[in-house]
């Protein structure tokens, strides 16, 4: 069973072709991570899945329930945390929203204003907002990039835990090789509009970054990215 089916996807911006015939199939519940240097079209691929960009060519199929966590929290500053989580949901979703907040470790924060939250907290609210909709496809666009190193590790753990529990299909766009290897069932590196490497990660969770297999994966991806 697939959650995402992409074939022959092309997208150019002006003279620059960022996606040049990409084929991708993601199983239900699979965690897929996409690595690549800046400006290679990782985020474009994700935005096409979210419906924020139109492909130039190719077919894109995704489940109807898709949610996105962006690099920034993108909360409505003028509304409190709980209404931010339940935004766009039918009335009577307060309990669900509060539950989702509790799940990301922010129990009792429902009445807080977004401006009073720390960066990590705000990003967890964004995660709760994405999860409360019970997505079949969760799109993560460098969701930890703006966080400090310690918070980032905690957030990775939280995402791993929540994804293991809810089992959405996930597309994670990231620059962080360790993050990709730590979380994903499969990692691909996007280069010159195509996947230069596509590799399943079959290590048991939780993954130890000092494990020789982990190190081997890291080395492969880093060398594909041109860092040795």
């Amino acid at each position: 069973m697939s959650a995402v089916k992409i074939s022959g996807l092309r997208k150019s911006f002006g003279p620059k072709t960022v996606l040049d015939g990409v084929d991708l199939e993601i199983r239900r519940g699979e965690f897929f991570a996409l690595l690549g240097p800046s400006g290679t079209g990782k985020t474009t691929l994700l935005r096409i899945l979210a419906g924020l960009e139109l492909p130039d060519a190719g077919t894109v199929l995704a489940p109807p329930r898709r949610t996105t966590v962006y690099q920034e929290p993108r909360l409505v500053q003028a509304r409190r945390t709980l209404p931010n989580v339940t935004i766009g949901l039918p009335r009577g979703s307060r309990a669900k929203g509060a539950q989702a907040l509790a799940e990301v470790g922010l129990e009792g924060y429902g009445a807080a204003w977004p401006a009073t939250l720390s960066g990590g907290e705000a990003q967890r609210v964004a995660l709760a907002r994405a999860l409360v909709r019970e997505p079949e496809l969760l799109l993560l666009d460098e969701p930890f990039a703006a966080l400090d190193a310690l918070t980032r590790l905690q957030m990775q753990e939280l995402v791993a835990e929540l994804c293991a529990r809810h089992r959405p299909a996930v597309v994670l766009v990231t620059h962080d090789v360790d993050e990709a290897v730590r979380l994903a069932d499969r990692v691909a590196v996007l280069r010159d509009g195509r996947f230069a490497v596509e590799q399943p990660i079959e290590l048991p969770h939780p993954r130890d970054r000092d494990d020789p297999d982990f190190i081997a994966h890291r080395r492969l991806f880093l060398s594909t990215l041109g860092v040795s």
Binding site: G29, G51, L54, P64, A102, E103, E136, R165
Partner: protein, 283 residues
């Protein structure tokens, strides 16, 4: 951390149904289509006016027809009065807006930038804003007479209020972090204002200029009712005195065209002054 009850991993009802993501982004509209849509409502109004007059549904006593108004326009052009009137009004409005908007800009920046400035300036400006500038006409006449000074001062006072309010908002809206960084690089006073604050607040400032120019048209009608022998405000007075329906409508048309000209001019300035947001004209 509390946990939710295990939620079903795969909702059965949705299993297997995939769709092409519906496009949520902004589509680019062809320029020609945009222009056509933009022009369509004014053109429809003109057409309705013309049809109403031609079919007799609109009596000339209620609203003069396009023919009569064009005739009046021709008359004004032939006597050279249109040019003179426009020039006289442009000088008054230009001077008034320059003085008033300049003052509003200065006060708005001061008030927006410093707590002391806000405390000193804002309450007075808010009170001033509550006073309709037309209420000042009698007082200004007794101070300045009915000549040019009175007219320019009246328009300046009318323009200062909205300029102040929008600049204050604009300056308040400038990213504090950028201002903090600029202060860290040693920018103070005028250099901070002209180097960082005013460029960043430019969208609001140009919005304010738009409103100031529109208000100056109102000011012209009030100012040129008294002690004027030329000007587009004077033309309104004339039309009223002689009960000339064609001139009344002509005045409205002139103001409408001026409004359009102001809009186009500000759009042009926006394009030149804010190249970093070339496609986002302030509204």
């Amino acid at each position: 951390m509390s946990t939710l009850a295990q939620s079903p991993a795969l909702p059965a009802e949705a299993a297997g149904t995939l769709e092409t993501p519906r496009h949520l982004g902004v589509r680019r509209r062809p320029a020609a289509l945009s222009l056509t849509v933009r022009l369509s409502v004014p053109l429809l109004l003109l057409l309705a006016w013309w049809y109403g007059s031609a079919s007799g549904a609109l009596s000339p006593d209620v609203l003069a027809g396009p023919g009569a108004v064009l005739g009046a326009l021709g008359e004004l052009i032939a006597t050279g009065q249109l040019g003179e009137y426009l020039a006289a009004s442009a000088v008054r409005a230009g001077l008034g807006v320059a003085v008033g908007a300049g003052l509003g800009l200065l006060l708005g920046v001061l008030s927006g930038l410093s707590a002391l400035g806000e405390e000193l300036i804002d309450p007075t400006m808010q009170m001033k804003r509550a006073v309709p500038f037309l209420a000042l006409v009698p007082l200004f006449i007794s101070w300045f007479g009915v000549q040019e000074t009175f007219k320019v001062v009246l328009i300046a006072v009318a323009a200062a209020g909205p300029m102040y309010a929008y600049v204050y908002l604009g300056v308040r809206g400038v990213d504090r972090k950028v201002v903090e960084a600029a202060r860290g690089f040693g920018l103070r006073g005028a250099r901070l204002a002209f180097g960082v604050i005013i460029p960043s607040a430019l969208p609001n400032i140009l919005m304010a200029l738009r409103i100031c120019l529109s208000i100056s048209l109102t000011g012209l009608i009030a100012a040129e009712q008294i002690g004027a022998t030329e000007g587009i405000g004077y033309l309104v007075t004339l039309a009223q005195q002689y009960y000339r329906s064609d001139y009344m409508v002509l005045c409205i048309a002139i103001y409408a065209v001026l409004g359009l000209a102001i809009d186009l001019a500000i759009r042009g300035v926006e394009r030149l002054a804010m190249p970093w947001r070339a496609h986002l004209a302030a509204r």
